[in-house]
Homo-oligomer: 298 residues x 3
């Protein structure tokens, strides 16, 4: 009996219908059999993952992988933890976490900034830094040596997000993170003071940064990850892709989308190179960084 | 990174389990990745369709398409409307509507009639013309220039189906449609008077036309689309395929089924030739007409 | 129009999420399109199976098949019956029943025993012989001419399982089966007296046979199909694969797993050789026997 071991991706999605977006990207990344699982709850994980662990030999486990997605990032994080707890020893498969596109979006935003700024010299303001994308943007910037200020309307919420962010950041950079409550224009201008990078990560349709504050700033790069009008940063269009406005380079959500898609596809491909990868924000950023460096060399 | 863009079909089904029938036909028509979505409600459509719109570039959007199916034709029509509303500008994918096989069945029936009659000369009686298949049969016949009488036991229901039928028919043919209530043999014989075509489209297992009325008629073609005994037209078998009985040619549901399957498969293939098709009854009929003409030439 | 007919497997699963295990094995056995259906109830079967029956021509029906799985073996048996009732005449597709791995597990266990014993000379004790795997082990052993004693803590339950087992066994062997209630060590030792084969089929995590009873026995082969600690047979490890202990050869659940997987894959492949197979315990055992004989010859 000759055996084949096509590339199988298990799509574990928290929503009632598994994401079409994630499915199409998987197919375009070379997945040969996509198995979609919707409404996946923590209690379901062990049985499903055992089926991935115990069906192929050690040499072939790399051809099975799991993608965790769906609109609820917190839910996806819990599912990913359950997956890791199910594995034992070398009997595991590779996993990518990208609920609501949070990791690929954050990685693309930081890599767009890197095109114009030395990140270790950056001082970044991250409005909406308490949300799932914002926390990841902060993690990635900190790990590159940047100074980061996360803001929220609620100062206590901003403070409490810090510990979660720092859990994923090397100790040497912990002093680089601070948190501020920003309720109005005055506080916003104060927060922006001295910043050269702005990455707005607020909820869809909420303006976090006014055009006047933007104008008054000394920003070199401004990135708005909100794709639904009104813009998170007044005056930035979703289509902006390295648009020069005075001394500032602007990106909108769709402007970072091309890189996000490339990172997403390359991450799916990477899953099938080994059976022991866990692709969270840092690993997905590293994959994107390789893509950027390959582009720079070519 | 070389990219592949296999043909992906999204199956949006109104039922709890997506149709196996539609799935197998999709696979046999060259779909490389079938993504089945069951229990799809109008509220789900936007998110799912965005995933189809925003994952592939303009040149490759034609390799993603949507099939709307399931047993509830009205539900499928609503889903199809929601899909169209989600598209904007050229950012769209091709869509085929064939809930409960309604469009492929109607197209096959009218094309079977066309093998034996000049449709612009036809005078057709369509019992059960208020149902989803009957309304489509009437639409297609009218657009070919035929005279059409739809009947129902309930005269008012027949009348109210007319406006829905005419919404899809060129103005010049609107006078060709009439509606009648038919409760018994006398009314039925009167309705059949002068007709050369009969297409019975009633609900499964209900006899709409008696054998005596059939014998008394001057019909050239009689088609019964009911596949469940008793026959919709007494004396016609589901297996009848151009069976000659006196001056009349008869078709049963299975007798039109081979052509229906060909039309279904060719419609799926056609979806992947462009990203902007919407295949409803008229477009599916046109695809079937091309198949018939190609067969006639060969 | 050239038509392709890829190998389609319909996975009918009783659970809320269709088994990943069964899905991966299907893909590795050459299934080209796997259509997963979860939460399949008897009432759903007819519509789904009609879609398999009426989409491909007689020559191509063998490229569509159905796998019945899920954790509930009784449910799977009912689904399989509904499938058989839906077929008519030659219009059918091949079906494999392996809910909870019951058939492939039982076949592998009996074939492991056959490597060391002439089964027609075997006298087998089957603790847990009232459960779905135990009943199948008993069926298969009886059909090979073995003497079989099934035991349960509840003597009446053991008795009532006999009729179900014998329904699938040739009449000539019906006298070879007996049932006993075994509540303690004394009864167990008495049951083991004269046995040369032990196949423990109890529920996960329950010890059915003590180490002292095992030591006192004259068993030639002992197989424990329980994969969850504590072992069903004290002193046997799940990893045991033909481990020699004195005059006895021991197998644990994982030790029989490699052969189980081979049988599962070969059974899936076999489904696509014809459109009229129904693979239950006996047919799956025969497929495994062919594999064993091919290995012995090579």
């Amino acid at each position: 009996m000759s055996l084949s071991h096509p590339r199988i991706l298990l799509q574990f999605d928290s929503d009632e219908h598994a994401s079409v977006f994630d499915a199409v990207v998987a197919v375009d990344s070379g997945v040969e059999h996509l198995l979609q699982y919707a409404s996946v709850e923590p209690v379901d994980v062990e049985g499903l993952v055992h089926g991935a662990m115990f069906t192929r030999g050690p040499d072939q486990l790399k051809n099975t992988a799991i993608f965790v997605g769906g609109s609820d990032v917190g839910h996806g994080e819990r599912i990913a933890e359950c997956i890791k707890e199910t594995f034992f020893g070398p009997v595991k498969v590779s996993v990518m976490l990208d609920s609501n596109g949070s990791n690929t979006t954050a990685a693309a935003a930081v890599l767009c900034a890197r095109r114009h700024l030395e990140l270790s010299q950056a001082k970044a303001l991250v409005p909406g830094g308490t949300g799932p994308v914002g926390r990841r943007v902060a993690r990635l910037l900190l790990a590159q040596g940047a100074q980061v200020v996360i803001t929220s309307r609620d100062a206590r919420r901003a403070q409490s997000a810090c510990s979660e962010i720092l859990a994923n950041v090397p100790d040497q950079y912990h002093q680089h993170l601070s948190a501020m409550g920003v309720a109005g224009e005055t506080e916003l201008r104060s927060a922006l003071d001295g910043c050269n990078l702005l990455v707005s990560c607020g909820a869809a349709g909420a303006q976090l940064v006014s055009g006047s504050a933007l104008q008054a700033s000394e920003l070199k790069v401004a990135i708005d990850l909100n794709a639904v009008a009104p813009a998170g940063i007044e005056g930035i269009s979703v289509m902006d892709k390295a648009v020069k406005r005075g001394d500032r380079i602007d990106y909108g959500a769709i402007g970072t989308g091309g890189l996000k898609m490339k990172i997403h596809r390359e991450s799916i491909r990477t899953l099938f190179t080994s059976n022991d990868l866990f692709l969270d924000a840092e690993q997905i950023f590293a994959i994107g960084l390789n893509l950027e460096e390959a582009t720079e060399l070519s």
